[in-house]
């Protein structure tokens, strides 16, 4: 505290005092301090992941196994009853985790691969490539993506592969914008200029200098994009132009069983049946949003005001 200029030493100078912690202890500390909503979200995501991976273990019946009683009520045999052609709804819900979530995850990854890579290139290049890509993205974003998806699906037809590619390409525009924006903030940093002055190649600058510094916003965006993609695919499937039968999928399941809701007055359970897959979708998006919200709060460095 009472440093004397005569005995000044550079090594003794007080730096920003940060305790050195390993990744795991920091993670443990963060988790300890996390709010209930984030913990709830993480538990839900974990359960969904387990269900998706081990669907055949958890499901009592097969995905497309048909029983002779359509619209069977909730019972010990069929926990949530059967659907319009006699398939066990509970089993289809579990398989749905695999199909719906799996497709959404794959789509999000593809969107990040396309949008992230192009965004980085645009941010570093900042000339004609950036101009061309940015204008293209502007045009893509001038049409609502659901409408664009409908147009493209009407042309190419509703196969799972088409669905993944179309949604991924449309969604990559937003990933592109975010990646470009955060990467530009890093590109103007002196340490990137220092690397360029040193003569480092584009690959090194992207991997070592830029990417590690834009990961937090990208990870958060991955969560948000996933929710968006997941909801888009569910909406398309609900509209009948997304994932096609007989694949068990939550969006289509809502549509197939929607008429049951009229009977809620007579049998509340039957009325609730079409809401189950919808609730499954909602619960996962809520969970992801809670976790992302906490993550953003934690990494933004923004302190709460009073």
């Amino acid at each position: 505290m009472t440093q004397n200029p005569d005995t000044y030493s550079a090594a003794g100078e007080v730096g920003a005092v940060l305790e050195k912690r390993t990744f795991w202890t920091r993670l443990k500390l963060d988790l300890k301090k996390s709010p209930w909503s984030a913990r709830f979200g993480m538990v839900i995501i974990f359960i969904y992941a387990m269900l998706a991976i081990f669907a055949p273990v958890f499901a009592p019946y097969g995905e497309a196994q048909v029983f002779p009683t359509p619209y069977a009520p909730w019972s010990s045999e069929f926990i949530f009853g059967t659907d319009q052609i006699g398939r066990d709804i509970f089993s289809r819900l579990i398989y749905g985790a695999r199909n719906t979530v799996g497709i959404a995850v794959a789509t999000t990854f593809l969107a990040f691969l396309i949008g992230g890579a192009l965004g980085l290139i645009a941010a570093i290049n900042r000339s004609y490539i950036d101009q061309a890509l940015s204008r293209l993205v502007d045009v893509f974003m001038a049409i609502p993506s659901l409408i664009f998806a409908l147009v493209l699906l009407s042309i190419f037809g509703s196969t799972v592969l088409n669905l993944i590619i179309i949604i991924a390409v449309l969604d990559s525009t937003r990933v592109f914008r975010l990646t470009r924006a955060v990467a530009i903030n890093v590109v103007v940093m002196d340490y990137v200029e220092a690397a360029r002055l040193r003569g480092e190649g584009l690959g090194w600058i992207m991997r070592k200098e830029i990417l590690p510094n834009i990961m937090p916003p990208l990870i958060a965006e991955f969560g948000l994009r996933f929710c968006f993609v997941f909801l888009s695919i569910a909406a398309l499937s609900f509209l009948g132009v997304g994932i096609q039968p007989p694949t068990a999928d939550w969006g289509s399941m809502v549509r197939e069983n929607a008429s049951l809701i009229q009977f809620a007055q007579y049998d509340l359970k039957a009325g609730l049946t079409p809401l189950l897959p919808a609730a499954a979708i909602a619960l996962l998006t809520v969970a992801v949003n809670f976790v992302v919200d906490w993550f953003l709060h934690k990494t933004s460095g923004l302190r709460d005001e009073q």
Binding site: S37, D138, V139, A142, I143, P144, S145, L146, I147, F148, L150, V151, L153, S154, I155, F156, G157, C227, L231, A234, A235, F238, L239, G240, V241, G251, V254, A258, I261, Q262, F263, A264, Q265, L268, G271, L272, P274, L275, A278, A279, I281, A282, T285, V286, V288, N289, F290, D293, D304, E305, Q306
Partner: protein, 328 residues
């Protein structure tokens, strides 16, 4: 020529909007280009003869170069002609198809009514919630509204819709679950029947819009000039009205436009749930039956609305920007 910067920027923005619309129209137009070669057969049925298929292709002008057909299509669209639907045709060559415009026109009014009704309810509520949560940041009220809206934006529209149907139509029949309206429906009756779809959209839109408004206001209140205003003795009300509001028009306009544009999309799903005869439902049906001219027509209308809304937001941002209003 000495043009005021505001005029200049607005003209630039309008030009950009037109250019975007041009590219968008090309993309929508090229939908028909990308169809597989045998689609004529698919539409007319297996029994169609070579001649009927050929006649059909001629009618679509597929024997002409693409740019000519584009010009004809755009020229038609400008005069209110979007071509004829694929449906209603059959193998014998008898054509009972209808003009796309005749299909869209009555439904467009329905869709605008639904979207307008929602906007009238949702925008004031969302702005009030957004501004108040920003002002009472981190209070219990703020946290509650935040968690509630975070939950709502995570719900698919059809989930919200079916919950409302279950509660307000099935268990406690207050509103009809199907929103049948037609031209003859009187306005009050129309509003009553549209209540559930409008309520669904309102819930979804309010959540999105409130969160964005809150973020925009918080961002604004963090400006150094707001602290300066406080330090010169301005009360909270004065800070908000005199110092924050004049600078808030642009961000608020952006938030409103973004959400109204979102409304345009949300309308599609909600119309299908409530079997509401709007453009969205028409478009989904057309996609299912791969009725390309109808898909094109609907897409064009949605895209124009979307571009227009964003354009208006930009223009509001431009005309309230002091740097442009009072150039150096």
């Amino acid at each position: 020529m000495n043009v005021h910067p505001v005029t200049k920027t607005i003209l630039e923005r309008l030009g950009l909007g037109l250019a975007t619309l041009f590219v968008v129209s090309i993309i929508i137009f090229s939908a028909i280009e990308m169809l597989p070669g045998d689609f004529g057969q698919a539409i007319l049925g297996q029994a169609a003869t070579q001649e009927t298929v050929a006649a059909f292709r001629r009618e679509l002008g597929l024997d002409q170069p693409a740019y000519l057909r584009y010009l004809q299509w755009v020229g038609g669209a400008l005069q209110g002609d979007l071509g004829t639907s694929f449906s209603g045709r059959n193998a014998s060559g008898i054509d009972r198809s209808r003009a796309v415009v005749d299909l869209i026109a009555p439904r467009l009014w329905n869709t605008l009514f639904l979207a307008g009704l929602t906007a009238v309810i949702a925008v004031p509520i969302a702005l009030a919630l957004g501004v108040s949560t920003a002002l009472f940041r981190n209070s219990v009220y703020d946290r509650t509204v935040n968690t509630a809206t975070l939950t709502t934006i995570s719900f698919p529209e059809f989930f919200v819709a079916y919950i409302l149907i279950l509660l307000l139509a099935s268990l406690y029949p207050v509103f009809p679950s199907l929103a049948n309206v037609d031209d003859s429906t009187p306005l009050a009756q129309r509003a009553f029947r549209t209540a559930l779809p409008a309520l669904t959209l309102t819930l979804v839109i309010v959540a999105h819009m409130m969160r964005m408004t809150r973020a925009a206001i918080i961002n604004l209140l963090a400006s150094p000039y707001i602290q300066m205003a406080r330090l010169s003795g301005a009360s909270q009300t004065e800070v908000i009205i005199k110092h924050a509001l004049p600078n808030a028009w642009a961000p608020i306009a952006t938030v409103i436009a973004f959400n109204l544009a979102y409304l345009v999309v949300g309308v599609v799903v909600v119309e299908v749930v409530f079997v509401y005869p709007g453009v969205g439902q028409l478009m989904v049906d057309a996609v299912t039956s791969r009725d390309i001219p109808v898909v094109q027509g609907c897409a064009l209308i949605f895209a124009i609305t979307y571009i227009l809304l964003n354009l208006i937001a930009d223009i509001i941002g431009i005309i309230t920007n002091p740097r442009l209003l009072h150039p150096k």
